[in-house]
């Protein structure tokens, strides 16, 4: 079992190329930034240089999308080696990925596909997490993804799966509040039951993002501001979790940095109010 991921209670932003210049040339008032690991798992060039320069100013969390921790084929050793090299270079605050799968039989979907919440999947995911954490030499965080399909043979809830996964492997959790909301709406479960069901002491980071509304289904698109319902759910989460690193995750239809910073400030305000409510 690896040392648990560190606790950190700041507020941050996903660093995307549209805002590289802002982060390099000005003092953006964030406590940390998060980058997509795969964007920097390259041999060299400007991306790695930018990351090094940003790292000199801010703690950096590495957030992956390609580990495929739920793959029945096991993990890609080449991928793990590349990620380890980046981890050694960046010395990140957190290293995270998703409770999902993307790779099977030599095929890679490049999407966060849903894991069935079964005992078989739980055993396999835990084996894969042990392998990943050993390869990286540290405990990771795993995020609850948005999902659009639920499987009939599930034997436990998503939050029960996450709780047991964290207990067995020592991994931390990255709670994506928008994903809880999206999946709750799509599958008809109570998002508050999710928040109460995960082990609060294992949550090290929170994501906030926007989603799109499709015909009868919500889709996690990261191209919108955080909606009111998700802000409300975030307030509930923070009263249950206490201080925990929180960040705004935006990937498409990127607005000016000031708009995202307003959302960071909103998160800070809600967390402060939730903390006061908890004390009272």
């Amino acid at each position: 079992m690896h040392t648990p991921p560190p606790t950190f209670s700041g507020f941050g932003l996903g660093l995307r190329k549209e805002h590289y210049r802002d982060f390099l040339d000005t003092d953006v008032p964030v406590d940390f930034v998060e980058v997509i690991s795969e964007n920097f798992m390259v041999d060299g060039g400007q991306p790695r240089d930018i990351l090094r320069r940003v790292r000199e100013k801010h703690p950096v969390a590495l957030h992956g999308v390609s580990m495929s921790i739920g793959s029945s084929d096991g993990l890609d050793l080449h991928y793990l080696a590349r990620l380890r090299s980046l981890v050694d270079d960046v010395q990140p605050l957190f290293v995270s990925d998703h409770l999902s799968w993307s790779r099977v039989a030599g095929f890679n979907s490049h999407d966060l596909l849903p894991v069935p919440y079964t005992d078989e999947a739980l055993d396999l995911v835990c084996r894969n997490i042990d392998m990943a954490q050993d390869a990286l030499g540290r405990a990771m965080l795993f995020e609850n993804p948005s999902s659009y399909v639920a499987f009939d043979d599930a034997s436990m809830s998503e939050w029960a799966f996450l709780a047991e996964m964290s207990r067995r492997t020592g991994c931390g959790l990255l709670l994506d509040v928008n994903n809880v909301y999206v999946s709750a709406c799509n599958h008809g479960f109570d998002p508050h039951a999710f928040l109460r069901g995960i082990p609060a002491d294992r949550v090290r980071q929170v994501h906030l993002a926007g989603h799109s509304v499709g015909p009868g289904i919500l889709i996690d698109t990261h191209d919108q501001p955080v909606c009111d319902d998700v802000w409300s759910l975030y307030g509930t989460a923070m009263s249950l979790l206490g201080p925990v690193a929180t960040m705004i995750e935006r990937d498409d239809d990127m607005p000016p940095l000031a708009e995202l910073m307003a959302e960071v400030d909103m998160a800070r305000d809600i967390a402060t109010v939730s903390a006061r409510r908890e004390v009272a």
């Binding site: 795969e38 798992m41 390259v42 041999d43 060299g44 060039g45 400007q46 991306p47 790695r48 240089d49 390609s66 495929s68 739920g70 793959s71 029945s72 084929d73 890609d76 080449h78 991928y79 799968w101 790779r103 099977v104 039989a105 030599g106 095929f107 890679n108 979907s109 490049h110 999407d111 596909l113 069935p116 079964t118 078989e120 999947a121 396999l124 999902s147 659009y148 399909v149 639920a150 499987f151 009939d152 043979d153 799509n186 499709g214 009868g216 289904i217 889709i219």
Partner: protein, 257 residues
């Protein structure tokens, strides 16, 4: 259905969807499966659009989308990184447009510029390092960002015009064959069309890095005096351009490593 079977069925649905496969996930899953399939296709089309912006402009949105869909159907992604998807898009374009070698070469240029952008770093090589080199033993190490392709068309001119919003020339075959060279200097990817002698010299260095062999090859093509003169001239050009990343004659003084 165990986990491996579930994941193989899911893959089949994404790559070649049909109702029978969707049915194994239950009727309630139909709408969600469509979201995943849309995500899969949109992600790959978006990836090709980002990797080949000038090919897209040259073909037009509709033709590019058709080519992208054809590529996705025939080339499901395999690598862990999405950055590798589209590495063989030039082959798809060649199969769709066999009479347009300029299109294939334009695609190669775009892909190579992207690869060079994130290739391994090298340090700038000063001409001071030339002093004291044992040229009989010297090996020239090329930058790992260098990509080479025989040139048969004016695809470089097409790319340049598209990239700079200039009037795009008609695609045309070259009067004399040459080669395209793509590499990175500092943080900037470079593209050059070189003559056949220079292209041959660069290709030969990838197989045999010795300066002596380079001289022999150029002497064979150009004669004794011109061959040696050209070798020296090319070496200087390549050092300034960042194509030669290191010169190593086995002594500590010359190698930059």
């Amino acid at each position: 259905m165990n986990l491996a079977e579930l994941q193989r069925n899911f893959r089949s649905w994404l790559v070649a969807p049909d109702d029978a496969i969707a049915g194994v996930f239950g009727a309630h899953a139909a709408q969600g499966l469509l979201v995943y399939q849309n995500n899969y296709r949109a992600q790959l089309i978006g990836c090709l659009e980002v990797s080949y912006p000038q090919v897209r402009r040259w073909l037009g949105d509709d033709a590019f989308r058709e080519a992208a869909i054809s590529h996705i159907v025939g080339h499901p992604p395999h690598a862990w990184t999405l950055d590798h998807y589209g590495s063989d898009f030039a082959d798809t374009l060649l199969s769709l447009y066999p009479r347009n070698p300029d299109l294939r070469e334009l695609a190669w240029i775009e892909w190579s510029l992207s690869e060079a952008f994130v290739a391994a770093d090298t340090r700038a090589l000063s001409r001071d390092v030339l002093a004291g080199v044992d040229w009989d033993r010297a090996c020239l190490r090329l930058t790992p960002s260098l990509r080479l392709l025989p040139a048969t068309t004016n695809a470089d001119q097409i790319w340049f015009a598209l990239d700079n919003d200039m009037t795009v020339p008609q695609g045309a075959m070259l009067d004399a064959p040459g080669g395209f060279a793509v590499w990175r200097k500092g943080f900037h990817s470079q593209l050059d069309r070189v003559d056949a002698t220079t292209f041959d010299a660069l290709c030969s260095l990838r197989d045999d890095a010795t300066f002596a062999s380079l001289c022999d090859r150029l002497v064979d093509r150009l004669g004794e005096d011109e061959g040696v003169r050209r070798a020296g001239m090319l070496l200087a050009q390549w050092m300034d351009a960042g194509i030669v990343a290191d010169i190593d004659d086995g002594s500590d003084e010359t190698s930059m490593d």
